[in-house]
Every structure is written in C-alpha cells, then in structure tokens.
Symmetry: D2
Subunit: 344 residues, 4 copies
Amino acid sequence: MKRIKVGVVGGTGYTGVELLRLLARHPGVEVVAITSRKDAGTAVADMFPSLRGHVALAFSEPTQADLTQCDLVFFATPHGVAMADAQRLVDEGTRLVDLAADFRLRDLVEWKKWYKLDHAAPHLNDEAVYGLPELYRDRIRKARIVANPGCYATSVQLGLLPLVSAGVVDREHLVADAKSGVSGAGRKAEIGILFSEAADNFKAYNVGAHRHVPEIEQSLSEAAGAPVRVTFVPHLTPMIRGIHATLYARITKDADYQALFERRYADEPFVDVMPAGSTPDTRSVRASNLCRIAVHRPNGGDTLVVLSVIDNLTKGAAGQAVQNMNIMFGLPETAGLEVVPVVP
Amino acid sequence: MKRIKVGVVGGTGYTGVELLRLLARHPGVEVVAITSRKDAGTAVADMFPSLRGHVALAFSEPTQADLTQCDLVFFATPHGVAMADAQRLVDEGTRLVDLAADFRLRDLVEWKKWYKLDHAAPHLNDEAVYGLPELYRDRIRKARIVANPGCYATSVQLGLLPLVSAGVVDREHLVADAKSGVSGAGRKAEIGILFSEAADNFKAYNVGAHRHVPEIEQSLSEAAGAPVRVTFVPHLTPMIRGIHATLYARITKDADYQALFERRYADEPFVDVMPAGSTPDTRSVRASNLCRIAVHRPNGGDTLVVLSVIDNLTKGAAGQAVQNMNIMFGLPETAGLEVVPVVP
Amino acid sequence: MKRIKVGVVGGTGYTGVELLRLLARHPGVEVVAITSRKDAGTAVADMFPSLRGHVALAFSEPTQADLTQCDLVFFATPHGVAMADAQRLVDEGTRLVDLAADFRLRDLVEWKKWYKLDHAAPHLNDEAVYGLPELYRDRIRKARIVANPGCYATSVQLGLLPLVSAGVVDREHLVADAKSGVSGAGRKAEIGILFSEAADNFKAYNVGAHRHVPEIEQSLSEAAGAPVRVTFVPHLTPMIRGIHATLYARITKDADYQALFERRYADEPFVDVMPAGSTPDTRSVRASNLCRIAVHRPNGGDTLVVLSVIDNLTKGAAGQAVQNMNIMFGLPETAGLEVVPVVP
Amino acid sequence: MKRIKVGVVGGTGYTGVELLRLLARHPGVEVVAITSRKDAGTAVADMFPSLRGHVALAFSEPTQADLTQCDLVFFATPHGVAMADAQRLVDEGTRLVDLAADFRLRDLVEWKKWYKLDHAAPHLNDEAVYGLPELYRDRIRKARIVANPGCYATSVQLGLLPLVSAGVVDREHLVADAKSGVSGAGRKAEIGILFSEAADNFKAYNVGAHRHVPEIEQSLSEAAGAPVRVTFVPHLTPMIRGIHATLYARITKDADYQALFERRYADEPFVDVMPAGSTPDTRSVRASNLCRIAVHRPNGGDTLVVLSVIDNLTKGAAGQAVQNMNIMFGLPETAGLEVVPVVP
C-alpha cells in the first residue's frame, strides 16, 4: 500500500491523540506534521506518554508547518480554524477532513445562528461533503473537504436513518435522549468537567438546544425527503468514552423494524445491528469504530425505542475521520480501524 | 420527643444500611431489632464499619426477633417477605413500611403478572397505602401498612404529577428515560454489577418492561382521573447513588408550566422546583431526601422536558420510608432527614 | 447553646463548600459572611445547589465584609491570604482557623523554602498553634490562630504518632505511601484533574517532595523528642473523597502495638483504632470527621504496616477546622460533626 | 507467517476475554478451541459482544475439546486446573502457558502452603519455566510448560530487578506498595468487587500475605544470588485496569540508578524506562503490553523509590502470555502486541 502523507492541525486535544493512536498503526499513512500553537516544540510523546515509541514527531507552529506537502490534513481544532485555512490548502491540492463544525451545515444562516461567526469560506462550504459514510459514501470519495459529523449526531443519525428513510415513524416528533462520556467535552481546563464534579454524578445540559441538532435534522430530512424534527437532550455521564443514544419514535406504519435495520446496514463495516432484544453497552464499542444498534417495540405499543452506541472519540470523531480518509483515498475502508473493543 | 420503637427486617442490603444511617441520628426513634437470616449473630458494625459507634446491635434471626414489640417495622427485603409477615404484625398493633413491592399495586392480577407470585395477603393489600407523601400524605397518616414506592417510580411520578393532574399533556404517550446509579441494583453478588462491568460503561436494560411501570401508571392515572401510559426505559450509569429521570410529554394545553410545578410543590419539604432553565445534577441531592425538578420547553415547541433527580437510596428508598414513618407517627416530617447533600 | 458568629473567607472551593455543609447544621454557629473576590454577589446556593435551603447568604467582597464582627473566621483560601489579614482580625478580637499553610511551620526559613513567599506575619506565626487536636488540644483551646493541618499530614501523623512517641520504631526511615481522592487537588480548572485524565487512572506525583512533609516531620519530631524523617510519596487515585495512608516502620523495640494505638487514642472522639487484622476502607469515613487506623505486623517480621484513612475534606480539612473551632470556643468537640459516614 | 493452533481453557474470565482480544488480531495464530464448563454451547460473541465479528467460536466442553490438536494451550483457569491436564497435553506434544499459579513456585512445600493443594504434577513442575521474558527468555524458548507470572509479581519484579541484580540496595527490607484496578480480582460474582462497593473507595487487603510474594522473592533471590525479602501490601483502587507499584529500597551502594535501569532494559521491547523525574500513570499503558518504570531518589536521601506501571490484564496476564507464546514458537516477540495504549 502506498503511504499517503497526512497532517494533523491541533493535535493536543482528545480527538487529536485519538487520531494519532489510530494513524500510528495505519498501514497506509505517514503522519508528517502535527501542529499546536501553544505547545510547538514539545515532543508529542512527552505530552502523551501513551504514544512513546509510536509517534516521533514534535508539535510544530501552525504557521511554519508546510501542510501543503500533505495529501490530507485533519483539523482537530475548535470551530473557525479549518474554514480559515481551507482555501489555501485545496488550492495546493491538499484535501481536508474537519473534525469541527465549519463545513457541517448547508445553510449558512443557520450555521451562524449556532456558531456565532461569519463563515470564512462560503464557496467551499457549498462543495463540502458531510462525512457520514453510511449516507454519503459516494460523495465523500471525491470530496476535497469532508465535514466529519459530530459525535452525538453520528449516534443519533445512524439510529434513526432506517426509520425516517422508510417513512414508518412520525418524523416530526422524534425524541433523542443522549448520554455522553466526559471526554466529549474535550481536553479543556474547565471546572464542570473536573473529576470531582463529574464523577458519581449525572446531569442534562443544553436541553433542546445543542449544536448537533441542526446537522441531525439536515441529514435526516434529506434522507426522508421531508422535514424531520428531533427533541434532543444531551447528558453528561461519569465515564470517559462512549455515547448511548436512546431514541423514541411514534410508529406511523407497521413494518418489520428489525429487518429494516438489518437490510439498511447489511454492507456497512462499522454498523452492527444487534439481535432483537439486545441492549448494547457502550464498552462493547470502546476504542473501536463501531456503532451498535438495537431496535425495540415495547409491549407491541406504538412507540419504537432504538438504542445506538458508539465510542465518541472513535466512530464519533477520529475513527470516522480515518474512515473518511480511507474512502477519499481508495484505501480499504477498514484500514487502521480493525481495533478490537477493549473490554473490560 | 418520645422515641418510637423500630425494627428493620433484612438489614444487610443497601436500603438497610441507608435506613440505619438515617435512623442512627433520628431524634425520635430507637432501633431495637435488625434481622438477617444469613448473618444472624454478626454485629451490624462489623458488616458495615461506617456504622461503628452508631449502631450497637447485632443482626438477629428473623424468627427469633420479637418484632411485635416494635411500633413500626421496615421491610428492606426482597419481594414476598413482607406480605408473609404482615398479618401477624398488624394483629399485634405493629405498623409496617415495606420497601419492596408487596403492597404497591391495587390490582393483584397485574401484581402477579410482574412479580410471579400469588399474593399472600390480598386483604391487607386492600388497605395498604402507596407511600408517596406528595400524593397520599393523608392516607399515610393512618395507614397500618405503607408500600414505599420504587426508586424510579418516585422520580418519574414526582416529575409528571403536576402535568397529568393539570391535564395539559398527552397522558397516553409519555416517555420516561431514566438513569440509575448501580446501587439501585442492590447488594447482590452478580456479574453484571461488578465494578469492572459497570464502570466506564452505560447501558439500557428491561426496555419498556420494568416493574416500576405499573405503579407509575397507577398513581398517575389516579391523579389524572384517566388512564396514563408511559414508555419507560431504565439505564445503568456508572455512579453509586442517584437517579436522573428525563421525561418527555407532548403539550395538549398551554400553561405556565413553571408556575404549575411551583404551586403543586409549594408546601412540600422534599421537592425542590428549580428556577427556570436549571439542569439539576444528581449529586445535588446525594445522601439527602430531596427531589429536585426542572421543567423545560425547548424552542417553544410542543414537547415539554422535565428533569427529576433523587438519591435512589434516600428519597428513592430509605429516606422516603423514614418520611412515611414520620407522617404515620405524627413526628415532624423532616425529622432525621435534614442531611445536607454531600458535594463533592 | 449560644451561637458564635462565623465568617468564611474563600468559600468557593471544596473546603469552602464542605465547611458550609457542616456549619449549616451546627447547632452552635451562625455563619454571617462568606467572601469570594471572583463571585461576589452570587448567592451561595446558586453556585452550590446542594446548599439550597440551607445557606441563604451571597458571596461578598472580601474588602467589604466586616469580618471583625465574627468570633471566628475560617480561611479556606490559597496560601498567603490568611497571613495578610491575620493581624487586623486578631486586633479586633476575632480568632482564626487557617485551612491553608500560612501558620503550619514553626521554622520560617523552611516555610519560605516550600511556599516561595516571605512570611507576612512572623510574630503571629510564633503564637499560632498547629491544629491537630489529638496532639495539641490544650494549646488550641486558647489559641488566637489555629493552623489547620494538611490532609495528607493528618492521616500520616495520626498513623505514626503512637509509634514515634513510644520510641518503638526507626524514626529516621519511615515510609508514607499515601493515596488521595482527586478533590484533594482542589476546585481548580486544571487539565490534570479533569475527569477524562484522572478517571480509570492512577499515578504518583511530587515523589518525596510534597509540602506536607515538613509539617509531618515537625509534629512527629516534637512528639518523639528527636528528629523524625519520612519518605513520603503521594498518589492520585480515581475517587472524589478519601485519603489512604499506608505507613511502613522498621521495628526497634518489641511491644503490643495494637494496645499502644488503642491506649493512645482511647479518649479521642474522632480516631477509631480498628480491631487487629482490619483493613479500613476510605468510604467507611466518607463525609465524616473520623480517622480509622489499623496496625499490622506482617508475618511477625521486623516491619510494621499502619493503615490510616480519613475523608480529606472532613478530618483532612473542614471537619477538623470545625473540631478546632469547637475546642477554641468550649463547645462540645463533636458538635456539628456527628455525621454518619455515607455508604455506599 | 505460518499460523500456530491455539486453544484457550477457561475463556470466560477477564484474562480469557483479553487473550481473545489479542489473539483475534494476531497474524500468526489461529484459535481453534475455547472451553468453558459452565457456558459450553454459548457463542463467545454472545457472552462478550465486544468480540462480535472477531471470534466465531462457541465455548466447548473441556472434556470434549480436542486440545491435543493445538500447538499451544493457554490456561486462563483458577489454580489447580492446568496441573491436572498438563501431562496429557505435553505427552501429545502440546505446549502450555498457565496464567494461574500451578507452575510458578519451584518449592512445592511453599506452593502447598499458599495454595492449599497437593501438587498434581511435581515432575512437570520441575521443568516448567517462570514466564518473565525479561529474566528467563532463553529458557522460555524451549519450555514445554510456561508459568505466566502474577500481575502484581510482574510489576514488582520488573521494578526491582535492576537494583537487586546490581546489589545496590538492602535486599532484605524491600517494600512494595501496590495498587491494582478491580479487574485484577477477576470476573467473579462477589460482593466486595461490586461497583457500589469498590467505586469511590480505596482499601488495602491481604496485608503482607499475598500469594504473589513467594514468586516475587523466588525470582529476585535468583537474580540477586542471595535471599530477597519484600514487605508487600496490595490495595484495591477504583479503576478497571492497571497496576501501580511503588517500591522502596534502602541504598547500600551508590550508583547511577537511572543508567542502571536503562542499561538493564535497553533491548526489552516491553519495558520502557522513563526519563528521570517521570511519574508514569497507569493509563499510559492501558490495553498494551508495556511496563513503564521511573526511578527516584528523593532529596538525595538513602531511600530509592521506583514506580512501575502495567496493565494487569495485558503485561500482567494475557499480553505476557502471548509474549511467551511468541518466544516459544519463534514468532516476532511483539507480534499481536503492537496495540497503542488507549488514552483517554
């Protein structure tokens, strides 16, 4: 396999170190640059001793790293960074996967409402592809810019896609009750995510107003061919990795829902539809790129319950980014992602 | 305050040790007997060193403890024990609070369906009172037998009561997504609740078919004066104590929902309606008898979201049992329950 | 009981909220002021919802709070604050308990070496009393300034005191291997104590060079009447509260070590010498002011092992501060501290 | 690479599932049988959904599995099983790695004292090799039976080997204070390792009398050429994986200790001597076969402190077993073990 040259912008957060964990063992990739404004000069393995012996690079100044030598650059940065650099890179033939939200929404008015910024590259936003392979694989193949989906958004979309596509549920009153491990909040020095605040504790936040809602509704609406509305409540749960989305949908049309899911994901390497009656736990996908899904119809009633679990840092971020890279460069889609979940 | 004599049957589980924690500092109570078949003879403080210096009793054989000397007996036992002993005790003038489910359901056909047993004391079941003080305080006062509510049931009922009573939501399509700390599963030697299984993990279980559903629907239906249906999904979350119920209700009638909750619970010592916009965390009630509630209407849409948190072992079990005892014996309702939540 | 007036300087950290938890239920105390530079104007219960209904005060500007109206002021501040305010307060007859380190060391050269500051009140440092009641109860009674011991220091000193006082071990080669819950690091926005960093992880830090070493050696040397040297290694363990000190001492003189400990602490309300063979766990003292100790002599060899556990925020900080206050004002020593440990 | 045929006896515990995680991706191995008396007939992936898609086998009856078809059988069983089956297997040319203790001690009187059994195969015990590659690599190569070291024993031995071999410390008064994640206690239904017992808690156990002591002293004594004595205190810490050993040794001879460690482990693929001043955390080796070590001399005093961390299930059990297999069969020693640690 010919190795492609890869750069990582903003490698000091959790998605950054997760990217490096996966790329370090990827047979088709050579990481040639990792940037960090704050930590330029520090060896990556000094900041993350887990990478000692696996990553020999040091962080470099974003301005000094020659990212245009890369075939692909991952942006593991806060919102607003990728869109500022994108034009320069695509002009030189470098492709991008942005793990933040700069290119996730088609509607830039909506985007500005949620992200409080004017978009720096509206033209590029038009061509960017939303990087959910299970929905947009063909477009991803040729994309210059891939917008990697949000972690919550990934678990919710994969859990609801078969239902809204088939038109068997009330797509305007969906409920998504999602629970995330604390790493989803990032590697930021904030009181609320201290161990002593988040351990042995459980809470909701941003009730009904999380930034992942518009991208969820955008994809599902496109898949449904009609507007989709989701009441979304995220929660912080005292674990490091993992998202568990519990999804509620009112039935509008009878169907074999289990078969619907199995058919929809039959060829997907990273979506595992569990046997009827299953309750997947988040650890069953820990450190892996899998999404496991189970569908229930309690008491034969009129409400479906879908359970969807991912590792927020892998299928919810870095793993999906690598999957997108594999698709973009014609590599085997599972290359570098064949990690067996770590249990216990 | 004259001290009432209290016995505890089955004191070796988590509700047992929680009862003892609270009763040890209760100014109006003397604990005279604690039984355990398996551990008879063992000093309570040897099994639970946290009680050294607070509880001088040893566990005694259930058959040999003279429980009829007690004014009140708490049953912190599995289902099926209290109903077998109840007649003998009430005949001697001893009153009962059962922390298990023997007297929770009015409909014994329904009860048998869920608990797989013939009821041993149907006659007593008729007079037993469901021990949710916020709904049945007057009946509890005079009850000989109080059925202490389930932990999930407490959090869900308190969160939905004002809405279904006021008739402002679609009471046949309520959704209750509940998350419990692991202590809710009891102090039993089972693989699934080992540290290495439950830590850093999140999962649903008993999707739509948990035993707390019938008691929830029973109370809420009575409060609503019409049938109530709840889709209930419980989840195991990696913390010791706490339940967080996230409740979804479709609006049928406009109202000032915040005011509705504040009025309903204005005089309740143990229900705290939080200011609008709050997201209560479970630790804010840790080790205390409080239920904190917040009500949200995301984006002014047609779905209400109610957040309701309790400590499953306190307001969800032992604390509520003590609250019921206080009501039954004319003690101040907050006696022994003025514990400040332990944070962090 | 006549209520004494109490102020808290710096109430927004973990020792602050723990002080408030204990003082809120203390029968002999009225809290009249809580200061915080950063959060002046915020209601205490808004920052710590656990205190809703228990603490009605708002944080006030340190400069505007009239602390001289207080009988006692607790300093739950970083090092350097109490020593700057002390003179003004004692001049007005207000007594102080400093939960930081300003008055812990007799030797100010040593103090400066560890705390990198010139001492602002050397004269007051001379009269200040080290607030370990088990060693200095009589002096505390009359002290104007009490230096509340460090959390590690409390657990290590109580575990070694009987041995070094009795002269039965090699007092120059003691080993103290201590493990602390993360709350010991304070409520500070720092990466290293984020949930995602500290959970499911264990590490040592400050090997052999922790600031608690000089106060440990100072007290133990005074108790021994000869120099004591301790190799001290602190560790961060993924729990919120609790310190477990494992202490190793080479025997120099045979004795009944169990009896030695029992005699030394026979009259101490907050030191519990466990039966021979015990292994106290930290949760057995959670949220309480207790220190539990067990002494072992493995295989009858020449090395003693002492296990000493406390709650770092209670006996290791706020609880011991309240105990000192009780002693200073002639209140019952256990007033406000009769909390039963919270298990599980 | 030609694939060797491997069997696993007792695949339902944590070392079993960890073996399968590693073997599933091992390029040189085919797993042909996994036995479990209790769960025969159950698909492995039904018990461990993390292995769905990776392990297609079902558990088989130990008596019916033809293990003699295997080149190697791993015993991930309780003590006593491997020694009963060993003769039959070696007679057929099948080699063994026992992850339990049957073949760990040379002295069978000592063995019986600790394990309370008569040894079933003393003759084979004579030829068995203790599977610590860093000490016995050459013997492992040709061994028919390898006794995989205990988890604690691995971390302690690797941390002390360079010092006792070089004769620079008092080898009769070593102190090993070790902390283990809860998975070290196995996947057994026991109260003490329930989440609600072990979370937010810390405790010592088996003070000075743990079964790993004799194997530690045996290897170190052999390496030192003189008797070694260790005071060993194990502790349970609330994390899933990981061991942190903090080792204390009195200096008898000056040396460059850092260089000593670096030289000793220069060619070891799985021992990482950290730079001077480091404090390795357990997560830096999570899910990997590494041991990371740091050596400290606090304040230039006469006591050395060595910090040694491993993942108890990997280098402490299954990973080391695979490493031994690789050595036994002439495979690259790191085959199947190139997992990057999972952080966070």
